[in-house]
Amino acid sequence: MASSRSGKLLAVIGDEDTCTGFLLGGIGELNKHRHPNFMVVEKDTPTNEIEEQLKKFLNRQDIAIILISQSIADVVRHVIDAHVEPIPTILEIPSKDAPYDPSKDSILRRAKGMFSAEDFR
């Protein structure tokens, strides 16, 4: 069967409640180097730390999905847009402070410009 034999992790970058919630769901892990697959972002967390952590998650072979709050994703948009590989998949999720906004979602924004006037000629 063409499938991977062992499961890959979901990583999460979000505020404390988001991380606590998803860790309650069972996705949390500390790998053999004691690196977590989650990052709690506080109000005063520097942008470069978030960028660095996202890049680390993107380079890890054992992570398949990265969940990142939409408000935090806006801060590191350039890193997300530069990522074109299918795995790991970056998924923007809502948070307590920033509910789901379809106008800011990367997929739906691209879908808006999917068809041009020429397509209907």
Binding site: A2, S3, S4, D17, E29, A64, Y100, P102
Partner: protein, 204 residues
């Protein structure tokens, strides 16, 4: 005739794309609802047992994921599927997958795996120090309020929604690529027909 087939294919791809966008929007809203429910339950749990009792201060120093994803590559578009069950158990079933540098003496490997299979998934500590795969809810105590259990259920559903969204995203990207290729092909055919001086085929 070829042009008609291409147009029909383009139409189908358009419909697929719009359906996928609708599905993505719908699943995102479901995910948001589950997460909102989860946040509310976390707040209720904090109210009942104290703010510090439900916070990152309670995260343990040893953690093993009990929810992972498996990538299925046997379809046109790779799909991700949620697996329940700790990575520890997965590694015990497939011990050969973890090729650690510390496996120097092959004859002792089997004994190590029998005596301490847990070590395959961990780099530190002996069996007595390692915590087995436990329900993360127990990080916050053993008699936890019902709100915390409800929060766990809500976020579990949010995790499944996340996996479904990743699959929808992959299908969307794949369909969009197919659409753009077909569209480019159609434009090439139209340009060729125009150059040859032939009338443009009817679109109705």
């Amino acid at each position: 005739m070829v042009d008609k087939k291409l147009e029909a294919k383009l139409d189908l791809l358009c419909v697929d794309l719009l359906e996928l966008v609708h599905e993505i929007d719908k699943t995102k809203r479901e995910q948001e609802d589950h997460m909102k429910e989860g946040y509310l339950c976390l707040a209720k749990a904090r109210y009942e047992i104290g703010v510090d009792r439900v916070s990152q201060l309670q995260y343990p120093s040893e953690m093993i994921a009990s929810v992972t994803v498996d990538r299925k590559t046997d379809q046109e578009v790779d799909q991700l599927e949620i697996i329940h069950g700790s990575r520890l158990e997965q590694k015990q079933e497939n011990p050969e997958e973890e090729a650690t540098l510390r496996k120097r003496n092959k004859t002792n490997d089997r004994k190590e795996q029998e005596i301490d299979p847990v070590k395959e998934g961990k780099s530190i500590g002996d069996v007595s120090q390692l915590t087995p795969s436990i329900n993360p809810i127990h990080w916050f105590g053993f008699l936890v309020p019902r709100a915390l259990r409800l929060a766990q259920e809500s976020f579990s559903k949010a995790i499944e929604d996340s996996c479904a969204l990743c699959n929808l995203q992959s299908r969307y990207e794949h369909t969009l690529t197919e659409y753009r290729k077909s569209r480019t092909r159609q434009k090439e055919l139209d340009d060729k027909l125009t150059q040859d001086g032939a009338p443009e085929p009817e679109t109705s």
